[in-house]
Amino acid sequence: MEKSFKFFLIVTLLLGLITILPAPTFFFVALATAFLYAGYSESWNIVGGYAGYTSLGHGALFGLSAYFVALLLHHFGTSPLLTIPLGGLLCIIIAIIIGYPTMRLRGYYFALATLSLPIIFGAVVVSFPDITLGGRGVSNIYITEIPFELRPQIYYMIFLLYMAVCASVAYMVERSKFGMGLVAIRDDEVAAEACGINTTKLKVRAFIISGFLTGIAGGFYGTYLTYISPSTAFGILPSIIPVLMAILGGRNTWLGPIIGGIVLDLLRQYISYTFPGVLNTLIFGGILIIFTILFPEGAVGMIKKGNLVGILNKYKYRRIGHTQSR
């Protein structure tokens, strides 16, 4: 087992043990969403990082699951503990239905097509207010089994566990034959087919894994906020956040989305408390630009290569020497 993964598991265990200690509530609250997003980003990365299919529409599955859980609770009183896993399954089905036609599209067009998904889902939600409560959103989404006073600690634990599961899944995928196949698809899908890879089968499998984990995240998220609306569930944020985190942290490894996720979410929280609302978007935009241009390998790549200045220099020199026709 890779050293850093062992280290990660130990840290996770320690973090889990903190719940017994009388740490301030703010500690649990701050880290809870950070863990959730880290895990969500990790699950995105299976499709977007390893397979190279940059999905800009994962928020559609996230929000779908959130709404599924919320509406079943609202209309029928079904406990989220039952419906959250079902939400995950629902997302698998939707991911396959949407995946089959769209995975034929080249990377760039795939991104465009997936970008439109949250918009479509949001539009559908708004158009049928009797079923979905439309623009007002759904409130009072609670997991009643969780005692109110313990909510911060329990959600902290749930999301910590979720993050650990997602990271472990990504870690195992990365090392497996399956993961190797995904990377081959990312590098050159035609050549991958020529090596015997059933690209359709592998891609569907990736969609399934990613879809399920995303659905779980979305389902829990709704109960955590206790309120969802079309704009929070299907806005641009749930779709762009996992992408941003993976790019920040590094799309090639399991560690990237974890680092990117925790750092970015803590940053986001800090900004929300200190500055007016829209500054978030500005900073996200800036990070996206900087990291896409200067650090495409993400933070993990930076650490591996060791030297910030070295990277900048290395990229500059390519301009003079390259022989490939562009």
Binding site: R175, K177, M180, A184, D187, D188, A191
Partner: protein, 240 residues
């Protein structure tokens, strides 16, 4: 062993393959030559499942393979290399070959086994010194060797080589000829090769098929084909 009958492939108004029959003997090295645009790579694409023929059938060892997908055809024993090399750039040489070992007919399941297994083919192609080098740092010749090593790691019975000699200097051409001869003699793989470099064709092939405008215009041993009037006319014009 590998045969096609009445093959037709059209792209819009252009007929790339026009009622073509071909037959590849087991254990032989067969060459496919012809002017640019005569349909050579299209034929490879048809055989390996990247295109579906509009008409006609292709059979491998008696079983029809028309319309199957590339990875299925690979699993049946036919592998192809690409005219413009297609390495997996983010991987090392070993990892590149390992992918083929995992998903080809060797059908290995663990990464460790696959990397171990791939060393054999890396050596065969003379790339040992670059085993752990990322593919994006290789020279063109090394990339071509990688392409071959990767194809071999799928444990094929038939290998379709698409213009492997383009861009090689004379000594590299000789080396490549040797390697291909070894593939046939040591590994017993049937080879079907598209080529422009005549020295390679004359040297390697037992049998040559000449294509022009999607039709077969000549067939035979290299010498027969080189001296046949339709071929000379195609390459050099009527006066010769």
């Amino acid at each position: 062993m590998l045969e096609g009958k009445n093959l037709v492939k059209r792209f819009g108004g252009l007929t790339a393959i026009d009622n073509l029959d071909f037959y590849i003997d087991e254990g032989k090295i067969t060459g496919l030559i012809g002017p640019n645009g005569s349909g050579k790579t299209t034929l490879f694409n048809l055989i390996t499942g990247y295109y579906k023929p509009d008409q006609g059938i292709i059979k491998f060892k008696g079983r029809p393979i028309t319309g199957k997908k590339p990875h299925q055809i690979l699993k049946m024993g036919i592998v192809r290399t690409f005219q413009i090399v297609r390495p997996f750039l983010s991987m090392t040489v070993a990892e590149n070959v390992a992918v083929a070992a995992l998903y080809g007919r060797a059908n290995l399941n663990s990464m460790k086994e696959a990397i171990q297994y791939s060393k054999k083919w890396i050596e065969f192609c003379g790339l040992e010194s670059k085993t752990n080098t990322p593919a994006r740092e290789l020279t063109l010749v090394e990339l071509k060797k990688l392409e071959i090593a990767r194809a071999l790691a799928t444990e094929p019975e038939v290998m379709l080589i698409d213009e492997a000699f383009a861009g090689l200097n004379p000594s590299e051409v000789d080396q490549a000829i040797e390697t291909i001869k070894r593939i046939r003699s040591e590994l017993g793989i049937t080879i079907f090769i598209v080529e422009h470099v005549m020295r390679a064709v004359m040297n390697l092939c037992d049998h040559v098929i000449v294509l022009h405008n999607g039709k077969k215009i000549a067939e035979g041993t290299p010498v027969q084909v080189a001296t046949s009037p339709p071929v000379i006319e195609t390459y050099l014009g009527k006066r010769y």
